[in-house]
């Protein structure tokens, strides 16, 4: 960012150097705020926490209302009293979410490092707040901003749409006219705001330079500096001939999970949003620990799934161990020169596997709870013996 600002001050396009890949709006934002950079990042973190707090507060009310409705409609089996969430246990969840975000070592690290990921997180948090409050216009605007910053929040369109449809009580049937009407409205809002922001950037800098620098960079992954993601090692080892193919495969991997998840989780769009956020931060081309901090902030919301989580202890140990081994192996590779990139990538792989298993554990626990809610806690087979729920 500093280089981009310097180039801008000289009158040259900030994208003519190879290291600046942020959007023009960020350039102009920091043009005025570069003196107070530390304060800016602290304030963005606080804003994110506040947005998450308000969002989860509202979400709790929605969940409770929905639960009451389903109980009255007799959709739940008779013996699931202990699975129902009570307001008392849900009272402290918003505070826990805000604290989880603020006190997370990953958040502290990215604040100290002054990573622009903090700004991405703030925009996504505001997007979530707007969606949960039900305002389609604001939600579309913030989603457009988030997509404009880094391409991947595009996939959050689906859960936001599902949530807003649910809020408007529009059933999700492909033949329903109101469904398509609402969808096109939301999509139009989103695309128009995206167009406006992109054109604004064009007029700010008087060139379309920023599109290949920002989006081309995210999609084609030219820079292979080691990070905690999965891309850099693969592409460092690969022949030029195949790199286009594998870039496409890796990028499709990020967007691919949206449709199956949308089909499975269409009743639970906020959980879908959480899983989608996690998938983005694991599979995106340049992940940082700030992305991880954002989705981890949501974990207290699903604390009622605790009894169904099976591997949470092992996974948290794996994640902590990997986070501690990252700097050790980085030191051994870069400074001591005794190790090589394989050591560091092994830890990256383990860390990402730990994250993937964490998300799938939560996913499975969520589905199990839904199943128990509708079919009762004590499952019996047709012949009366006790059954067990197994994932095949």
């Amino acid at each position: 960012v500093v280089e981009g600002l310097a180039l801008l001050d000289l009158g040259v396009s900030p994208y003519s150097g190879a290291i600046f890949h942020e959007t023009p709006l960020i350039v102009y934002l920091f043009h005025f705020l570069i003196e107070y950079a530390e304060l800016v990042f602290m304030i963005t973190d606080v804003l994110t926490a506040v947005a998450l707090y308000l969002a989860i507060q509202d979400f709790n009310k929605v969940v409770f209302k929905k639960q009451k409705l389903l109980i009255e409609l007799d959709k739940y089996a008779p013996d699931v009293a202990e699975l129902i969430q009570t307001p008392m246990e849900m009272h402290y969840i918003p505070l826990k979410v805000a604290l989880f975000y603020l006190l997370n070592p990953y958040t502290v690290m990215s604040c100290v490092a002054k990573s622009t990921c903090a700004i991405n997180n703030t925009v996504i948090a505001f997007f979530i707040l707007a969606t949960i409050k039900g305002s389609a216009f604001l939600s579309a605007v913030f989603l457009a901003l988030a997509t404009y910053q880094s391409l991947y929040p595009l996939t959050l369109f689906a859960p936001a749409l599902l949530y807003l449809l649910q809020r408007q009580f529009i059933p999700i049937k492909l033949k329903s006219k109101s469904f398509w009407l609402y969808t096109t409205q939301y999509a139009a809002l989103y695309l128009c705001s995206l167009m406006v922001i992109i054109c604004l950037s064009f007029f700010l800098l008087n060139s379309w330079d920023f599109i290949p620098s920002v989006y081309g960079f995210i999609l084609s992954v030219p820079d292979l500096t080691p990070n905690i993601g999965l891309f850099w090692y693969f592409f460092a080892e690969m022949f030029e001939h195949f790199s286009l193919f594998f870039v496409c495969v890796f990028q499709i991997n990020v967007f691919f999970y949206t449709i199956p998840l949308a089909i499975k989780l269409k009743e639970h769009p906020v959980f879908f949003m959480f899983v989608q956020l996690a998938i983005i931060s694991i599979f995106k081309s340049y992940p940082t620990v700030g992305d991880i901090a954002l989705y981890m902030a949501f974990l207290p919301v699903w604390s009622h799934l605790y009894r169904f989580l099976r591997n949470i202890f092992i996974l948290s140990c794996v994640l902590i161990v990997c986070s501690l081994l990252f700097p050790v192996l980085w030191h051994l590779w870069i400074y001591a020169g005794s190790a090589n990139s394989n050591f560091y990538y092994a830890i990256t792989l383990t860390f990402n596997i730990g994250q993937i298993l964490l998300i799938s554990d939560y996913f499975y626990a969520f589905l199990r709870r839904e199943y128990y809610l509708t079919h009762g806690l004590h499952l019996t087979r047709q012949d009366g013996t006790e059954a067990m729920l197994v994932l095949k």
Binding site: N311, F313, L324, P327, H331, A336, G337, S338, V390, L391
Partner: protein
């Protein structure tokens, strides 16, 4: 996901872990130790081989003829050194200049954090002198270093003489592609560190120096030479560097190859290789060699001046000429030819040495144990901790259904207090040395060492105090949670340590793991307390010193061992402040790596006295 998601399999596995926990732990520990001891068995360790292509064959024709000249230079140097009473800077500069090298001097000064009793100095001032032989047809982008420490007294004079003779010989050759720097450093490690920092323009420690005037490009390799006699019977090589870092194995292979070519006897850890390999005495011999290397690496102290080069990614070894009572002696010409051969081979390097292993153990000079072979031993030791953690974790989570959880806040006081003790152990000794000398009749160095030991012992009194602070004291699940946390911390720290300095990690694991796994407040208190005290890192250091003296065949009695122990603690602290080694200080100042076994040990002590 089969194992993790299939409930039948999971239940069977957890039942197995719970029922057979102690036998499995014991088996794993024995396997780990047994694996480590088996590594020294010669047929199991592969032979060393040259990995770097550029150093493949030793087909150079060495023609170094100036053996007598080396001795003459050595005698002159000794005379001038005695006259000046230190390092004869002017004479060295003039001699190097007359040989046709580009001469530079580097004065440096360093105030030690506390006076060093072993060598009685507080403020060290010295000068490094070095001459650069510029390669005749190359662009001065790479360099090799031959460094000779200038020690007090009659030591190391022949090394300077040989260096000067080699310089005069090398100056006449046209095949050098890299510059060669001939360095004479004063006050051994301090001077070396000052030179390296000035050369690379960094400021890692607080040495004040005038800054290096002449540079010769990136240093590819360095050899440090120590010779104190006119003839040698064998050459000893030292590889361990600062914080247990080792040079590339290829450099050692190069040395071995050239010693064999010139017929020089070479030893490692002072021990000669045996020709029979499948007998028990041979196994004991190679086990001794390997244990000596493990102890040296674990101490984190560089065994020669080369140790400081490794931090800058420069491969370096130290060669020591030994004059023992053997009959066959080699003169300076042979030694010079070996060194000439080594330098000519290093001259051929196209890139830094990276092909061979950086992590290895040496049971003898021609056999090595790579990281892939020795890590499973450590893995088995950590497996004990993992088994115990899963066992405790299972019991803790199972117990959460029956009784209400006391809350994790109960754990906070012990953890905070243990951390505070660790920080005190790190900061207080050096800061408080002046206060201590005012009130007690001890010198500063003694004050520092005794403060360290005092804080360590004071930490053992902690459980009796933290008890009163805790609300959940005495509850069954409270101590399980604390032990879980302690085991996790221990496993994490041992893992990080083993990656950075395998020997230290393995030694600490071997001593602390059985005590850590066995500790619980319900069992017999006194034996468990005794076991835990024996497992503490300080006692490990004491035992390590005693074992090392045994292995070097100069056994030390208990009193002498205690003195050595005190000296080692003092040296360790001093080295930490001077070079950034991390033997015992809880946190390394340069990165945030948690290397604090005493912390985990204190937590376990708290668990033992929970009730």
């Amino acid at each position: 996901m089969g194992l993790l998601s299939d409930p039948h399999c999971r239940r069977a596995l957890s039942r197995l872990i719970v029922r057979l926990n102690t036998p499995l732990c014991a088996l794993s520990y024995v396997l780990g130790l047994g694996w480590f001891l088996a590594l020294a068995f010669p047929p199991l360790a592969p032979r060393t081989y040259m990995s770097e292509n550029a150093m493949g064959s030793t087909m150079v024709e060495e023609q170094f003829p100036f053996g007598q000249r080396a001795l003459a230079y050595a005698r002159e140097f000794a005379g001038h050194k005695k006259k000046v009473g230190g390092m004869p800077v002017a004479w060295l500069e003039q001699t190097l200049w007359s040989l046709g090298l580009e001469v530079h001097r580097q004065p440096f000064a360093r105030t030690l954090p506390f006076p060093d009793e072993a060598r009685e100095r507080y403020m060290v001032r010295g000068t490094n002198v070095y001459g650069i032989l510029r390669a005749p047809r190359a662009a001065s982008t790479e360099a090799l270093v031959l460094s000779v420490p200038c020690s007090d007294g009659p030591h190391n004079n022949q090394a300077v003489g040989l260096m000067l003779a080699l310089a005069s010989y090398f100056r006449g050759q046209i095949y050098w592609a890299k510059d060669i720097i001939f360095l004479v450093n004063e006050h051994d490690l301090l001077g070396m560190e000052a030179w390296l920092e000035a050369y690379h323009d960094v400021n890692v420690t607080e040495v004040q120096s005038s800054g290096t005037l002449g540079r010769a490009g990136a240093i590819q390799a360095a050899i440090s030479l120590e010779l104190s006699s006119d003839v040698v019977t064998s050459f000893d090589v030292a590889v361990e560097g600062l914080n247990g870092q080792l040079p590339n194995l290829d450099l050692l292979n190069l040395f071995h190859a050239f010693c064999q070519k010139n017929g020089l006897l070479c030893t490692i850890q002072g021990k000669l290789q045996r020709s029979d390999w499948d007998s028990l005495p041979a196994y004991a011999h190679s086990l001794q060699t390997m244990l000596l290397m493990v102890l040296a690496q674990a101490s984190g102290r560089p065994r020669g001046d080369h140790g400081l080069f490794l931090r800058y990614r420069i491969e370096a070894i130290t060669l020591r000429g030994i004059n023992s009572f053997r009959q066959y002696k080699y003169d300076m010409t042979t030694v010079g030819r070996t060194l000439e051969g080594m330098f000519r081979k290093l001259n051929n390097l196209l890139e830094r040495l990276h092909q061979s292993y950086f992590f290895y153990l040496l049971p003898s000079l021609s056999r090595f144990v790579s990281i892939g072979l020795y890590m499973p031993a450590f893995g088995f030791l950590i497996l004990v901790l993992i088994l115990k953690i899963s066992f405790l974790g299972g019991r803790w989570f199972a117990g959460s259904r029956e009784e209400p959880r006391p809350g994790l806040l109960v754990l906070v006081p012990p953890v905070l207090i243990c951390h505070a003790a660790g920080l005190a152990l790190y900061f207080l000794p050096v800061l408080g040395q002046h206060v201590a000398t005012q009130h007690f009749p001890v010198s500063e160095a003694e004050a520092v060492v005794l403060t360290v030991i005092a804080i360590y012992v004071a930490g053992m009194a902690l459980p009796h105090n933290t008890h009163r602070v805790l609300a959940g004291a005495g509850s069954e699940r409270g101590w399980m949670a604390l032990k879980l946390l302690a085991l996790l911390t221990l496993a994490l720290q041992l893992g990080c340590l083993a990656l950075l300095n395998f020997s230290l990690g393995f030694l600490l694991a071997a001593t602390m793991v059985p005590a850590a796994a066995a500790v619980q407040p319900n069992g017999p208190k006194v034996p468990l307390a005794a076991v835990l005290v024996l497992a503490t890192p300080a006692v490990t250091l004491l035992l390590g010193i005693l074992v090392e003296r045994e292995l070097v065949e100069a056994p030390a009695g208990l009193a002498e061992g205690w003195q050595l122990f005190l000296g080692a603690v003092g040296e360790g602290l001093l080295q930490h402040h001077l070079y950034g080694s991390f033997l015992f200080p809880p946190r390394d100042g340069h990165t945030d790596r948690p290397t604090d076994p005493p912390l985990a040990w204190l937590l376990l002590w708290n668990v033992l006295f929970w009730k």
